[in-house]
Structure formats: C-alpha cells, structure tokens
Symmetry: C2
Subunit: 248 residues, 2 copies
C-alpha cells in the first residue's frame, strides 16, 4: 500500500485509493481483523466485473434510490468497511435524502464503535452535514440474531421500512428481510447469500454505488419503485457479465 | 478471526484455519500490508472453484512434480503468504525432493526477512528437516526487475532451471520466464498474468497443492515431464469450471 500516490492517471488509482482508505481506517481502529480479507474478496469480483458499473447494476441503483426516496422511514446501515471506503459519500447521501445513518457492526466492541462514531462525527462537521448518527445507544434487537450483533436502534434500523445495507453479512441480511423490510443490498458477489436475499441487490463496488446514488439524489427527481422489478434477473445479468469476462 | 476453533467438522474449518495462520504470521511481522487483501482475492476464486482440487489442477500438480523431480537445480521460492499458509508443508516437500528453498519477497525489509527466516529455521528444527534455506544474503539479481525485488541468491533462484513460485506477482513471474527457467506457478486466479505466463500453472489453493505435491513426492515414483503438456488447456479447464459454478 506504500505504492499509493495522488496520481489519478495511474491505471490502478481507484483500487489503490480504496486500499489507502482501508489502511487509514485500520490504523484508527475502525476495522475487524477480517476486514482486509473481505475487501480482497470484493476486489476479485470487481476485477471479473471489469471494475465498472454494468448497466444492470446502474438500473438496480436507481431502483434502490426510488425505495429510499419513497420510504416512510429509511436508514443507511454502516459498518467498518463501509465507513472506511465511502463514509463521506454515504453521509452526503443521507443528508440529501434527509434520513439517518446507523452504525451496526458484526464484531461489536466499545473501541471499534467509538472509533467509527468519532469518524462519522468528523465527516459531519467537516462537511457541514445535517445527518442523525445512530448506533451509540442500541435499545432494540433484530429478531433471530444472537449476541451483540442483534443490537440496533428502535428509531433507526428497528422501525425502518427501507434499509440500505452495504457489505452486509448473510445472517443479518436474512434477519432484516424476515422483519418485512425492503432490504437494499450492495455486494460485489452476485452469488452471496446477501445478494440472493436482498429486495434490490446492487452488484457493484461501494464507492461507485455511493456516487451514483448521490448523483441521482441531487437530480431532484422523485423516482417510483417498479412493482415488477426482478432482482433475480439483475443478479443473472451480473453473473452473465462475469461469465463473458472469463470467456473472452 | 476470533471465530477460529479446532473443530474440524466446521464447514468453514479449512478457510478459518488459513485465516488463523495468516493472523499469527501478521502478528509475527511476516506479512506486508497487502497480504490479507491478496488472500481475500484468493478466497473469492477458491469459492468459485468449489474449494476443491479440480481434475485439471491435480494433473498440473503432477506435471509440476515431474519437473521438480527431473530438474538439474530446482528451488522453491517462498514469500510471506506462502510461509504463513503452508510453510511447514513446503519445507517438508523441499526435504523430500532434496532441494533448497529461497525467501524472496516483494516488499523486502530487514524486519520481514528476519521474521520469515526465523520462522523457517523453527520449522526446520521442529520437524528435523534437512533443507537449505536461502535468501538471507542475496548475491545476484533477476534481470529486468528494479530495486530490492530483483535480489536473489546465485545458488538458488538465479542458477535454477526449475522454480516453484507459489502466489508470485506477475512482474517477477515474467522475469523468471524470460531467464529461460521452467516456472511452476500456483495461483487461484486463472486469468492472472502469473497464471498466463507460467510454464505449468496450478489453479488451486496453496495448502491443497502443497499436500498433493508432498503425497506425490512420498510415493517414490519418478515422473517424467510431458513434451506436449498444454498449460493453456489447463487454464481453460479452470475457467470452464468457474463458469459452470456461476451458471448452476
């Protein structure tokens, strides 16, 4: 990662920038041990996608935006990798949509929660954003999960009807779907349990998605969720794209 | 990684064991920052391979063994991830084949070299192995590479006619091929530059390959390299397997 430089013309600039953001987050105590391995898995799938937003992913992103715009109570769930990779962009999105974010992590320790919350408050202040940051004092539990990973906030994740969960684990994604929520998933692996469980799954790299959502939200067009939206069809399009990359 | 347990019946036992070995190696200062990300990329490809040795990979492994057994001067090149994941097994293989190992790392620092060499000497002593460990005092350079990553030992990598390079980067693999060596590559990504450059590429997980090579070497059969061996055909078989995983 010592190779990271500010030269945007470097062919691997985007990939090196993401690694640099993770490295900084690791040093700040924001990440679990498994964070870098999970990022590597994502890199492999992104490579197979051609490191770009494919048309089906862009379409899924606009469908997710429609759900966020039409929700009674939407929330963006943030974990360590999400905050490291696209914390600023997702906070800007929350501000534009006027919805809260909630820190919700798999390996919950007071130290990691504190590091993540501090970082979000810094983003909020540095960018002068009006966003409610939840997660510090969980007062509800996600049914079907055990231990600290079930913890959530009533006015955030618990009461939400629409939830954006980037880079979520399969168990929690499944539990949120079982609660009857519309679950918007961002996952580079179209075969993952989260990808298959999601209401709308965006098979794309997190920062590209965050920027696409932000651009869409800033257009001031209120979109409408499609009644006949087919998530499996979008997953199949991603699989087909990967297959064609492998064959060429 | 705190989930690691000695319960071999756990469906993810092998994957958790590998992560545990990497975690221990990271704590011992043996790994570069990018090591865990690289491992994650491998995990993604292994998932697509079904986390097993596919027939074409086993065939490539036996071809690689034939080259190692018939070499004038063979060597096993070891880097941080390789030593962390299968250090003991590769040292046992070197002992059976009566060939040296050479520590050769991309991000070469005195601290990492020292940690890796110490670990190999511990494996050597603990297992009472008769293996020459090279790499501490490089006295030659791989042509075409710049900086510390060109460093190697004359009696090891430099003079070898056959070299096993698990988890090697593309640049160095290409430079070794340009030296006229038979380069035996272990890489889970059949599309990587190393995979495509190799003389014999084994698309399989390192520890499974090390164990397969060790089993083969212990059979006391001297194999012969096939004159018409087709590396591209073996890469295509791996790609076809991944494609069928994605389609099913």
């Amino acid at each position: 990662m010592s190779d990271f430089a500010a030269d945007k013309s470097h062919p691997r600039y985007q990939s090196l920038l993401m690694r640099h953001r993770l490295e900084m987050a690791a040093k700040a105590g924001m990440l679990a041990d498994s964070a870098l391995i999970a990022h590597g898995r994502g890199e492999a799938y992104d490579y197979l996608l051609g490191e770009k937003t494919i048309p089906s992913a862009h379409d899924a992103t606009m469908e997710a935006l429609a759900h966020l715009q039409n929700a009674n109570s939407a929330v963006i769930s943030l974990n360590g990798n999400t905050i490291a990779l696209a914390g600023t962009e997702l906070m800007q999105l929350a501000s534009h949509l006027n919805i809260p974010v909630e820190v919700n992590i798999f390996y919950r320790t007071p130290e990691r929660m504190s590091a993540l919350l501090s970082h979000l408050y810094k983003i909020k202040n540095d960018n002068d954003l009006d966003v409610e940051i939840l997660g510090e004092n969980p007062d509800a539990k996600i049914p079907g999960l055990e231990g600290p990973r079930a913890n959530c906030c009533e006015k955030g994740i618990y009461d939400s009807d629409v939830i954006l969960v980037p880079l979520e684990d399969g168990d929690r994604c499944e539990a949120l779907v079982a609660m009857g929520k519309t679950v918007l998933v961002i996952d580079l692996n179209p075969l993952s349990r989260s990808a298959r469980m999601g209401s709308v799954t965006i098979v794309d790299e997190l920062l590209r998605v965050a920027n696409n959502l932000l651009t869409g939200a800033m257009q001031e067009i209120i979109r409408t969720p499609r009644p006949n939206y087919d998530n499996n069809q979008h997953l199949q399009a991603a699989i087909d794209h990967i297959t064609s990359t492998l064959s060429s």
